[in-house]
Amino acid sequence: MNGIFDQLSIGFGVAFTPLNLLVAAIGSFFGTIVGVLPGLGPINGVAMLIPIAFAMNLPPETSLILLAAVYVGAEYGGRITSILLNVPGEAAAVMTTLDGYPLARQGLANVALSISAWSSFIGSLIGIIGIVFFAPVLAKWALAFGPAEYFVLMVFAFCALTSLLGDQPVKGVLAAMIGLAISTVGVDANSGVYRYTFDHPNLSDGIAFVVVVIGLFAVAEMLQMLENRLTGVSIDVPPSVRKMFNFMELKFTWWSTVRASVMGFFIGVLPGAGASVASAVSYAYEKKHYENKDPDAKFGRGDLRGLAAPEAANNSAATGSFIPMLTLGVPGSGTTAVMMGALSLYNITPGPVLFDQQPQLVWGLIASLFVANLMLLFMNIPMVRVFASMLKIPPWLLVPGILTISFVGVFALHTATFDLGMVVAIGVIGYLLRKLGLPMPPLVLGVVLGEMMEQNLRRALSITNGELGILFQSPISIGLWIAAAAVIVGPSLYKRFKAAK
């Protein structure tokens, strides 16, 4: 118990430095804007900022705080357009439209906005408490992992991520493999052999992770926008009698918020399932839970509980998804994979030893998540109009702005024109692959984990001189293989079971 307080005080010491407070505030603000803008989600915001944070020579913990603040900020921002316009600002906010928009149409827009900000805050808070208690335990357990266990763990992460995304697992596997293939480009660390470099000097260090993410999440995204050619929208926050929710409404939604937060946290910790799954599951649960009991429940027609639950869940899931990245070094979602790539720029490899070796980084991040959420709560209630007005930025200004920021970041990395050309090429390929229904998160995970996966495999096989048996030896690996098989077979079995019923 004492240990936790010591560590938290290290964390708050880091979080309360003026630079980190400023960065958390800027990140929260920027993140909310990214969340508000339809088509841009946390992954795009984080991808754009990584190289810039690095070029500004921010220390690693500060840069991670910035990215984390953007991530949670986007989860707050996504709800604003869901409620006001019936347009989810990002994927996890889809469920928020179901009850949020009807509430706004009943003249309760401000109540809906403020109660959802509150439930987002509670969701994050429960997620943070979860990290504080579970992460160190998991990290300690993961110390027992050898190279074979690590390799199998990564296989499990891929299985979880691909089987939960979409109905065509083949495409998920293909995406993951393309990502892994990208990671093999460059000089091989063990043997010094150049792989897939074509004797080009710019490729000898491999394809930079930042180049891949910006290509996929900035350039490809803009091509997508061009296809639909969105027009700017101007909206007003409809006037309503009250600015804030009242105590009755707080009590009314309290248990839904808490239940959804706890559920969201555990869903977030699992690799693969993220904020979008969490919000959908918790909404479905609350609806089922109350529809039999409460004759006044009006889910889908403006029930405050149907608004509070998914918002709490998506924030606690976003927070919980830091756990696998921080403790195991194996991110479970696209956005945390991108963040892990950011840490690799600083030559920091997340994993169990991080808690011992870089406590200021880990606990600083955790404390800053709390600080950023507090800021977001206070920013989001009075400043809703400011954020909503961001939608007035016309696309003809927004798109070049995003492209410029992306190019600045990529160029800052190596000051190489080659990288810029590469970003455009990867963007075009990414656009085509997305059109063909290839999911992007497994691809990003492949790029991030590729080197670690290969190294662990080779190390494991060195122990047994090439014998594959070591991958199936320890109880941990066997358990992970079973879990991996379960996540692949599980969903289709469940479907069949349901159909039979």
Binding site: M56, L174, L180, V193, L226, E227, T231, W396, F411
Partner: protein, 147 residues
Amino acid sequence: MALDDRKLGVFALALAAFLAWYGHSLEAAFSYEPIGPRAFPLAIASIIALCGLILTVKGGNRVEPNSQGANVRIWLMIAILSGYAVTFQLLGFIISTALMTLLVARLFGGTWIKALIGGVGMGILFFVVFDYLLDVVLPVGVLGAFL
């Protein structure tokens, strides 16, 4: 040309063939470990080939083709971005960004006047923000004498 799963499958097979063909010759001069630099890429190539085979055989999932106008816009956008990549260092940040913004803004339906003001404004504003305020060094290019 409409895209579908069969085309994706063919692409995957081609990628696998390339990875395998190039990866086959990867050999360490002398090696301390049982698994050299070749095994991992070849394993990936075979899984990609398997996925490609499944997709090619199954086919289907035709993607709704873009409208003619959208395709023209996308080709233009790719051309503009390639131009931006090439001129970024050559002409310098301010000029290349102003040009890119002008053209992309036109593509997204901004008027010439708005696009021009937006472009010049964006070039100068971002240069000041990044180069002077945030310490991210940007190429000055042909304006080098003035900055």
